[in-house]
Every structure is written in structure tokens, then in C-alpha cells.
């Protein structure tokens, strides 16, 4: 079971779907960012699994996974800073009350 690529791919797609649901359904902006982190982790698991099971992709997959981690860190930094900046103005972390941009 742990020797098959499919098990890891199914696991990563399930994690990605969980993150998708969280991103679509949660009201809190920080919970949405957490869901994005879950989705990025699911993609990373698929990348690392491909690298471990395909000999041609050995080092490349690890490098790409490290790049994804760095980009995820940058995304978390900027995303949370944006949430903090909006929170300072609107006094709420709930995204469905961020409707003032329409006016």
C-alpha cells in the first residue's frame, strides 16, 4: 500500500479537496488562508510522490517541492498582512462583510 504511487496521489487529491471545501465554505479570512495552505500541501505531496516513484524526476521533484514551500511562505506572509490591513479598517475577519469595495 505504501509502495504504490496511486495511494499517495489519492491522498493528495483528498487533501486538496478538503482545502477546496474550506476555501469555499469558511467565512473567516484566516480560515480560508489555512485552507489554501492545505491545498498547497496536497500539491506538494503529489510532487514528492512523483519524485519518489519516478527515477527520472528524482532531484527535480524535491527542488520543486522546496520552491512550492518558499512560495507558500511568501503567500502566507502577504495574505495575512492583507487580512490584518483589512481587519484594521473593517474590524471583522469575516469575508462576507468585506462588501465595502463595491461602493
Amino acid at each position: 500500500m505504501s509502495q504504490s504511487l496511486e495511494a499517495y496521489l489519492v491522498l493528495s487529491s483528498l487533501l486538496f479537496s478538503i482545502g477546496t471545501f474550506g476555501f469555499l465554505a469558511r467565512r473567516n479570512a484566516i480560515a480560508m488562508l489555512m485552507s489554501i495552505e492545505l491545498m498547497l500541501n496536497g500539491v506538494n505531496l503529489a510532487i514528492v510522490a512523483f519524485g519518489a516513484f519516478q527515477p527520472a524526476l528524482h532531484g527535480d521533484a524535491a527542488i520543486i517541492a522546496l520552491m512550492v514551500m518558499a512560495v507558500a511562505a511568501a503567500e502566507a506572509t502577504v495574505g495575512l498582512a492583507i487580512v490584518m490591513a483589512i481587519y484594521r479598517n473593517r474590524r471583522t475577519p469575516l469575508v462576507d462583510e468585506y462588501d465595502r469595495m463595491r461602493e
Partner: protein, 216 residues
Amino acid sequence: MGPAAPAVTSARASRGRVAIPETIPFIGWSWADLLFLLFATTLLGTGLLVVLGRNIIRSGLWMIACFASLAGLYVLLGATLIAAAQVLIYIGAISVLVLFAVMLTQTKAAPTRLAFHHQAWAGALAAVGLALLLGLVVASTAWPGKGPRTASPADQLARLLFSDYVLAFEVVSVLLLAAVIGGVFLAKREDEPEESIVPSDGAPPGRWPGEEQGSS
């Protein structure tokens, strides 16, 4: 972890060490399978708790457990450097960042009863559809080159990172620098109001018009 390790331990068992059987007694699974099942259930369970939990602090703490089980899966896959980076970056940095942001944006007036949108069922439907689609793709594709998993040592990765991927490495470092500067700029408190951000209708600076009668 690999198939050779239990044989070595059983050979050493005659010299006074504790014998570890190659498979789990009474079940017959290999240890890697048991660890995979353990980490997979922990990963999916904590992922669901992150998404479904109403208390957002607990969601952040479950997210740490989710990242830890993912690091275990990376070790099972032989990517030990990625597992170390997962622990350092995700558990050490991103989770702490998220928890700090949660604690800075908690209000007493924030309704914890309604954690989801009213149309959360549509999101659930989309997520289940996506999971089914991805599972169908995984099941129906004949993945080429299926072989035994092998580990990738760290010195090979370092050599690759500074030869073939050096441009990507530099671009990522510039991206991180830009993210740091952007994060500081966005999260900076504007203590003294500047004239350039005062709207023309005379609203107080740093606030959005019409906020006083809003639902804050």
C-alpha cells in the same frame, strides 16, 4: 524503513537485541504500510478538523498536526530533506504566523456560531466532485515507470539546486524579499495620517467612508 532493515535487526537479535519482526504480528502488514495508514488517517482527519472546526484557534492547532503527519509521509517517501523543510517552514514558521494573525483578529463580537457561508453546501458539492474527478483520473491513468521508491540524498539536491535550478533559486529569494517588504508595508500601522490618503469628501484618514454606521 526499507525492506532490508528488518532483516538486519533480526540478524542482530541473536546478539542480545530486541527482535523486530519483518511484519506486524497477527496482521501481516509491513511496518511501512502501518505507518502509511497511520499518517494518512491523521492527515485526512486533522485536515477535516481544520476545515470543519468552529473554533479557529483549534483549527490552527489541528493544522500543525496535519503538517506533522505530512512530514511523516515525506519520510516514508524517502524525501527526508523535504520532511525537515516541512517541519521547519510549515510547523515552525507558517503555523506560528497564522496563529499570531488569528490572535490579532479575534473579536468578542465575532460570531463563532456561523463559521460557514450560507451556501456551504455548494462548496461541499464542488469539493466532493473535485475529489471524485481526481480519484477517477488517478485510477484510470496507467502511471508509467512504476518502480520502487528511492531516497534522494541531500548533497545531490544541493548540487542540483545550485547548478540547474540556480535561476529559480535566485528568483525565489527575490520573491521572498519582496514578500517580506510587502508584508511589512501592508501590516504597518499608520500612526500619523498622510495627506495623500485623505479622501476628497473629508472622511477621516485611514478609515473607509461610512464605517461609523456600519456593523462594526
